[in-house]
Structure formats: C-alpha cells, structure tokens
Assembly symmetry: C2
Homo-oligomer: 589 residues x 2
C-alpha cells in the first residue's frame, strides 16, 4: 500500500503536482466538466475538485482551460516500422501524447529472438514510454516459406508470459487457428489459463464460422478489419475491434462510417497504428493525428478520446491506465481544441513526470549501448554477385510468359499480372516499358544462402536498385532493381554496414541509411531519420518511383501472409496456396 | 482447448443446441437484430446466423421472435437475506433469469467461519447457479462492538483468494480505510497484487477526499450510493456504481434519475439487490423485476440489459460471462417484451442447460446434507430469563429520560428520540403509548453470555415479542417485545430449535419458522418459506406492527455500522462514535 498516495488522496498530505483549471474529459461517464488532477509521485491521487490537495511544496500547473485527458494508448503498434531504435521512438510518440503502447517487438524477435526482444525492452526502461509486451505467438510468420534467425516455440512464449510487462500473445493468425496449428493452439491454451492475459488476433478477411472459431479459441482483439462491416462483425462477437490507420493502410475514415451518426456502443473499439512510418511520425504525429482525422469524420470528441484510452485499456484487461482516477498511473495529456482543425496535445505527463510542455519535448534519452545480440546481424553464407539474381529461362526459350506481382499504389497488397518477357543469355530480362523489375530476397543470417527471385510491378522505378534489410516477416534483404549489377552492389553494401536501406544507381551509392540495430533500427532521432528517409524517398521518386514510401511497401512485399503474392528467400510465394511457384508460366518463343 | 467447441464454431461439427428465430440483444454494440445462438455443451459456439451449426442431433429451440439476452448477473447479493438455504435460493433466482451472482456468504461466515462458507459453496455445486465468491474482507463487521463465532483475518482471506471461484474481497468499509485499519489494508494489498481480483467497497456517505482515498486504496465497486449524485461520484472516479434496489432499501428509481434522458456513459453502472427478501423473490422476482422498474423509469432497453450483464461482468474483470459470443459460458435468457408492463423472462439456460421453460422451473435440487459445521449453532452460556432483559434504573429513580432508537418506516436506518419512561421495581419500563419497546441482543454462540439492552421505536408492535437469530453483523439473537416474559420464551425457543424467527404472545408461540442452517437459513422452497414468512408478518401486523418485513428490519437494527444507533450483544451502540452507550440519559424524578 502506497501510504503517501492514500494520505494525499485523503487530504492529509499535499500532492506533488496539481493540475488545475482544466476541463476533465471523463472517459468513464462520457462527461466533460471543470476540474483538475492531483498527482502523488507516479500516480493520480484525486480528480475533479483537487484544491484540497494543494499544500506546501505542491507544484501547481494551470491548465488554462485546456482539456485534461488520460495519456493515449496504442493497442497495436510495431515500433520497428518507424525504423527508430526504441529510445528515439519513445521520444517521438511521447511528444504526441502517447504514453503507453502494446507491442510484440516481433521484428526484433525475427532477427535476434527473445533475447533480442528482452534487450530492447531493457533499453526502453529508462524512457517514459510505458511498454506492454504482447509476446509474439510465432516467429517467423510462415516457417515453411521463409528463413529467420529468431525462432519461437510454445516453451519460449510460456516463459515470456511470466514477465511483469507481458499482457498476452500477439498476431494469432486466422488461418493457423482454422488449421488447428498445434504450437499456436498450445499458446492459446496457456493464455486462456492465465488471468489478465489476452490473445491478439490477426484475422484478415475472417467472417462467419471462421471468425467464430477464432474467437472461440480465445482471440479477443483484431486490428485487421478493413471495412466498416468487418469492424462491426468483430465487435459483435466480443472481439475488440482495433480501427487501424497505418502508414501502409489508411482505413480509419472508412471504418468510422460504421459508427459515426449511429448510437452504436463504441466501447469495443479503439484506434491503432500498427505500422507508423517515421516521416509520418515526424510530420503528422501519432494518435493525436488519428484523433484529428476521427473528429473530422464526425466522431464525437469524448468517444474519440475513449478510443485511444479506456477502450484500449479494457481490450487488454488493464485497469490502471486509460482513465483519470485515484490510483491510476499519472499518464495525462493537456489538449487544446476538440475539432479536427484545433485539436493539439500541448502537455504530456507520463507516470507523473512532465515530458512535454506546450508542445516541446522536455526529455532526451541517450543512445543505448546495445546488447551484442542486437548488433552485426547481417551475414552471407555465399557471396552475392549479379548472377545471384538471374532467373534462368527454360532451355532454348527466347520469350516467356511470367507472373509479375504488382502492388496496389495505396496499400502493399499484391495482384498477379501476366507479362511477356525477353530471354537473353538464358536469363529472363526485366522490362521497364512494362514496369517489370527484378525483385529478390537474400537470406542474411548465414543460415542457408537462399536467394528467392521474382518480378515486380507497381513501383515504376526506372533506374538503379533499392535494397533493405527490413522485410516482413523474416527481415532478409529485399532488393528490387532495374539491373543485376546495382542489385549486387546494394545487397553487399547492406551486408557490410550491418543492414539498412539503400539506393544504388550506375554502381554508385546514391543514398544509404544504416540500421545497426538488428538491421532494422537507427539510433537517429525521429527528425534526423525522417530527413534521411525523405532524401532516400525523393531519390527514388526522382527515378520514377510512384510509391511515396517504397521501402515500407517493399517490407510487406516479402510477407508470405499478405495476399496474394510475395517474395521470400524461399522464392516466389502464392499466398493463397502457401506454395513456392515458378514465376515463369510458359515459353512463348 | 475445447476441440469440439472449435469444431462447432468452425462449422465442421453440429451444435448440441441451436436457439433460432430470436432477436439478439448485443450488449457489446448495443444493437438488436435477428439471429440465434449455437451451444456446444456448456459454451456458446456461435451467435447471429447460426443455421450452419445445425446438424444431426442438434436440438432446435424456436425463440419465436423473443429477445435473446445473456443470463443476468447480480454483482452484489447476500443470499442469506432471503433466509433460504443456497439450493432453494438457486431455484428461486434461476427462475427469474439470474444465472450468476457475486456473493461473500458473509452471514454464514459470521456463524460458521470460512469452513461454513466453503460448505455452502460446496452445497451449491450441484445447482445451475454460477456463484462467484467475494471473500469477506472482515468478519465480524465491528469486532470491538459485537461477538461472532466466525472470525476472519488476512491469512484466512489470502488462502480463500486462491479458490478457483474467488473474484476478490467484499464489503471494504469506508471508515476502516480512512482509519488505515491494518488487517483491511493488508488484504487490499493482497488483492492489488493478484490479477483479476477486485475489492468491493461499502462506502456509505463517502465523497470528495474520503471517496478518493478509498478508490486510491483499490476499491473498485460500491453498492452503497443512495442518491443520483452519489452514483455519479462513484462512476466518475472509476468505481463501478452498483445501483441497489434491496428489499430493505428501494433506491433504484431515484438513482436512475442520474442517467435517464442523458447521454451519460452507463458502462460503469450495474443493478444489484444486496438483500432480497424471500417474499419479494416469490412475489415480484429478482433482477427481472428490477429491469421492469428501470424500464418504467425510462432507461433504454439495451442499457438496462447491459446493467445486469456485461457491466456487472466488467466490474469483476470477468470476460467469460455477461455477453453472447463464441467461447462465453452459455448463460442465456429468452425474454418477452421490452417495457415495464411486458418484460418477462420465459426461458433460461445456464451453462447450456435449460433450467426454465416458458416461465416454469425445470430443475429441483434435493435438500443438502448439511456439513455439521452449519448445524446446531445456537448455544447459551447462561440461562435466559425475563430478568435478563431488564434495564436497571439509577438507585431511587422513578422516572428517567432515555434515548429510544426509532427506525425509519421505509429503510432500517435509526434515529434517536428522547423519551421519558417510568421506573418499576428498579427497572425502566417500556411504554406502548409512546411506541417504546424493549429490545435486546443475546449472544448465542456460548462465548460470553452477553445481553445488550436498549429501547426501540418505529415498529408499533403492541403485544407479545418477536425474536430472530438473524441479525447483522453478528447473528446473535435479536429480540424485541412488549414484556420480558414473552421475550424470554421467544429466545429460549429459538435456542431450542437451532435458530429461526418467532412471535410469542401471552407465553404462547403464535408463529415460528426454524432456520436450522446457521440459525439463518431454511431448507424450504422459496414459495413455502414465503408463505411462512407472510404468516409471521401478518401475525405481527395484527399486533400493530407497521413495518411490513419486521424481521428484516430487526436484522439491520443490530448492524453497528449502519447509522445512527444499534443494539448488539455488547449493548446500545452509537454508530457515529463507535461507542457503547447507556440508553438512560438522566433521572427526571
């Protein structure tokens, strides 16, 4: 029992901090009324009329009529998608009022296993961002279709669930549940047997009996609904519906049409980002941006705030965050404005400590001394040369019909396109006229030397090659190019620097960004990295690329679980059949 | 993992039972729509379109357009207040759609300790009522002011919290928290350290700093709000507000004025009964009656249903009840009508088993073979005679001024009244003209032979004496009468039969009801006991008593925690000062 807290709440000792003269946004009752918050150390002692908590030594903060809300919670985010190491990531999101995230650090796990994840969790300990660990339910995503360094099994998961910060398991994949995949079912059983643990679903396209089975198996959240109907389907069966607006999939506005203007109970709904590009974080923000978007769509202010606070907390059965009340952690935002145009997070308190004042970040965390398990993660089993990327045509063929995979321009979902390509020296040639590029994924852990190869469309890059050591869900090196030479230079350079992202043209490195942590993360600040990324993206755009964030799109092109086609180190993947396919379909000449 | 459940949900095996052609009341989204529920054994497999679950051997139930709701949950009830043993109690409430209750069995604990409570929990196991055990946070209520047989300490509580059915601790008393009462603080600490455990508050009259301190200490529910303002005060600080309509305190309609006609979020509010008289249960029902009352007050239908289902489940952090969804326990009601006049629970399923069909109970549980610790609990240390009840006047006094405690007619809350009484043979006489009766409480566990004595008003009994071995919070024998002889006969008879309730007049037993279980509970059915109680109450009314349920009122007159005065075996209690007082204030002649 925190005796000082009880004394402050009871009025017999003064509070450390009192925020007064605000408008309480009460996420329990949906009311807004005048009042303040009294803080004792890391905890809220009183809310409402808190004058009685002011005494000798109390720091008084005048909210000046601003709204007082709970700190925001992102119930599903992969910080690695920002390409920021956890400390600069924490700075980046705290600035925008996010005080808690639920994350699986899956990407780190793919590269460095549970040891790597625990090292990153340890790095975060000095920050003011509250990190709840949702243990990856499986690493990698598709064990039969890709190579990863990290490998999870039910035993590792069971042990991780014992951590103080663990809140459940993440990314339980619908089709694996439908197939009664034994490891996943074992982990779901473990979670069902532990109080306060939840199973996060990754239920793409699930409905009816399929959705019912996943929920019956214990899945209680899902962030993969795309349409308003899918949002309602999930909420109706007691599966917390996470409305997602990610940098790669902007679906919030459409999803909100399910509820705006209705009297539907929104307590089962929250707003999440899933994947947040560092340029978006730098330029538009985090959940504060999403709230502006939601307000612009007509979502009432209090309901919007509930969707990034108490609803998210309830989805994880957490009772000590997401609301302003005695005994809750003092995660508090002062907010100006309640419309899409005026909404702005001005001051942020995390665990009672002010980290943002009038929009300015008050904290800066030193670059972490990374655990060795997070460093030097790129290794080739065999040398990579231009020849490594060549796709051999059938003997004697001069022209072949191949399946090129095209990305949609607004979401990295792929579609097949049949194209005819010339053969030269026994190898199938790309064709810039038809927007057909070479794409490959190079195994980078020194395990088997795999190189998977295929053809890619939709980017319209017209010169050089890009490569990245960020590639879901295995983080081998994905490389896409107009010629084999630049592709080889790009991959070898990334191996040399321990991972990152790169554009090579005419044998020259045009732009590179190093990701020393797991080949995934940079120690730059969000602003610095955003500037670097902007330069890289601009250099791609200058070479015809029409995808604004090509590296993020590429990172999903290797996801063997995202319809309909993919490239992994195993080869060209038909996601629907879960088989490796030959991209060459027939010989034409 | 329940493989059959997953197969039924997934559509590869047929359901055991399918309820079709109903109107789903979706407590998650607040919607009502056509659909059904598929059941596999004790669990819901699918909700909504469940045609796909019908196969060979599926029992099909046509809901005939009735509403399908989750089974009702009473988040705070003392079954002992019905004077029914747990099995007939279960029959009584199941008939009205209540499938789960949260209870501390505190009264049994007072008489027979944790051993007695566990024996009653064991008796309940054969019934279809789901009983969640909220471990009493202290027994007795006021250790310094009353004698009980059962005694609880933090060690006993800690052990009980390990039970599978435990959900927290009950009745955490506001003033004890304000006073940092060590045993209670220790138990609150234990609860805070256990996931999924909650602390139920008993926060009479708490507001401002006092309420904040109780909530900061971990109290997360309260059923003691009386006014609409107190309901809002609690909800606003994250303390689940339980709107109470008990047989002894009918405050629901008034409390509902806080929310009816507003857009206040009601997710923090539920409806509970606390103390339900068996005549009320027999004549008007349980939560079904309360729902009719709430609908009559203008509460929207779905919000009303939420207040006896999901809101109550959330208050206890329970995720497997309170809603219709795959994987939830198959506790289901079919309901006709959605207005105060038409609402009626017609069919009830508990854990997938139909227990009520078209309003008729399908189950009957045999009388339990009670554990010996529950039986023969009445024992006197010294004989009781008429002299036992005499209050000695100061030497030589002929007339004295005394404080008589009067009950309010609608709630057993007591107020002081100064009266002048004659002295005869050295003893103060009662005075029927002024409605001043003798009242006493006789210690009945053979521990110390205490007899506490005082004067009582408000009942207007004009002949004979009534006695009862049900008396909060110690369950000694409370006896009230117009003469010492009838009082002695009444007490001695209750000792002889092991407890119960009795009316004696002119030395004759006019009516008695035996409570063999702990001196608190009868094995009669709800209808039988209600008939007996009606006869007893009528016999009291025939003797001028204006309190319709005199025995229930008497049971609260001995509650040393209920303002402002009380009688216990220790004597006449000033509840505000927590002191034993002399009822005689001064000598007049």
């Amino acid at each position: 029992m925190d005796k000082k807290l009880l004394a402050v709440a009871g009025g017999t000792e003064p509070a450390d901090v009192v925020i007064k003269n605000g408008q309480i946004v009460n996420v329990y009752t949906g009311e807004i009324y005048e009042g303040g918050v009294a803080i004792c150390d890391q905890t809220i002692a009183a809310v409402g009329d808190v004058e009685y908590c002011i005494g000798e030594g109390t720091k008084i903060i005048d909210a000046g009529g601003k709204y007082i809300t709970p700190g925001f919670i992102d119930g599903h985010i992969h910080p690695e998608s920002s390409d920021l190491a956890i400390r600069p990531f924490a700075e980046g999101v705290l600035k925008h009022g996010t005080t808690s995230i639920m994350t699986d650090l899956h990407e780190v796990g793919v590269v460095s296993g549970i040891e790597g994840i625990e090292a990153v969790l340890a790095e975060n300990e000095i920050t003011d961002l509250n990190l709840y660990f949702v243990v990856p339910s499986h690493v990698p995503f598709s064990p039969a279709l890709e190579t990863s360094a990290g490998q999870f099994n039910p035993e590792i998961i069971r042990k991780a669930l014992q951590r103080e910060d663990a809140v459940g398991i993440s990314e339980c994949v619908g089709p694996y549940i439908l197939a009664d995949y034994p490891d996943l079912m074992e982990s779901l059983d473990d979670v069902a047997g532990m109080k306060g643990m939840t199973a996060q679903g990754h239920l793409v396209d699930m409905k009816g009996a399929a959705l019912n089975k996943c929920v019956a198996a214990g899945v209680s959240t899902c962030h993969e609904a795309l349409s308003p109907e899918e949002i309602m389907d999930r909420a109706r069966v007691g599966c917390y519906a996470m409305l997602r607006e990610s940098s790669a999939a902007r679906t919030l506005a459409q999803q909100l049409t399910a509820i705006v203007g209705t009297d539907i109970d929104t307590s089962m709904m929250s707003i999440v980002t899933d994947d947040l590009h560092c340029c978006d974080l730098a330029e538009t923000g985090h959940l504060d941006h999403h709230l502006k978007l939601a307000l612009g769509c007509g979502l009432p202010f209090v309901k919007a705030i509930q969707m990034v606070t108490i609803n998210a907390a309830r989805a994880f059965e957490l009772t000590n965050i997401g609301a302003l009340a005695p005994g809750k952690r003092a995660d508090i935002n002062l907010v100006e404005g309640d419309t899409a145009d005026t909404f702005a997070v001005k001051d942020v308190f995390s665990r009672g400590k002010q980290v943002v004042e009038n929009g300015e970040l008050l904290v800066h965390y030193p670059v972490a001394e990374h655990n060795p398990c997070l460093l030097n993660t790129t290794k080739l089993l065999n040398p990579i040369t231009p020849d490594s990327f060549k796709i051999t045509a059938p003997e004697g063929a001069k022209k072949v019909k191949v399946t090129c995979m095209d990305t949609l321009p607004w979401i990295p979902i792929t579609q097949p396109r049949e194209v005819e390509l010339e053969v030269e020296d026994g190898y199938v040639k790309c064709d810039l006229e038809q927007d057909v590029l070479y794409i490959a994924q190079v195994e980078r852990y020194g395990i088997n030397g795999n190189v998977g190869k295929a053809f890619m469309g939709g980017f319209h890059l017209n010169s050089g090659a890009v490569a990245s050591s960020v590639g879901h869900d295995n983080h081998n090196i994905i490389v896409m190019g107009t010629n084999f030479e630049d592709m080889a230079v790009a991959v070898n350079r990334l191996i040399e620097i321990g991972g990152g992202q790169i554009l090579v043209d005419g044998g020259e490195i045009i732009k590179e960004i190093a990701y020393p942590v797991c080949g995934l993360l940079s120690d730059l600040s969000v602003e610095e990295l955003a500037a670097e990324k902007a330069e890289l993206n601009a250099a791609c755009a200058a070479r015809g690329c029409i995808i604004g964030i090509p590296m993020m799109f590429l990172s999903f092109i290797c996801l063997a679980a995202l319809p309909t086609l993919a490239i992994t180190d195993h080869g060209f993947i038909n996601v629907l059949t879960m088989q490796v396919e030959d991209p060459i379909k027939e010989v034409i000449e």
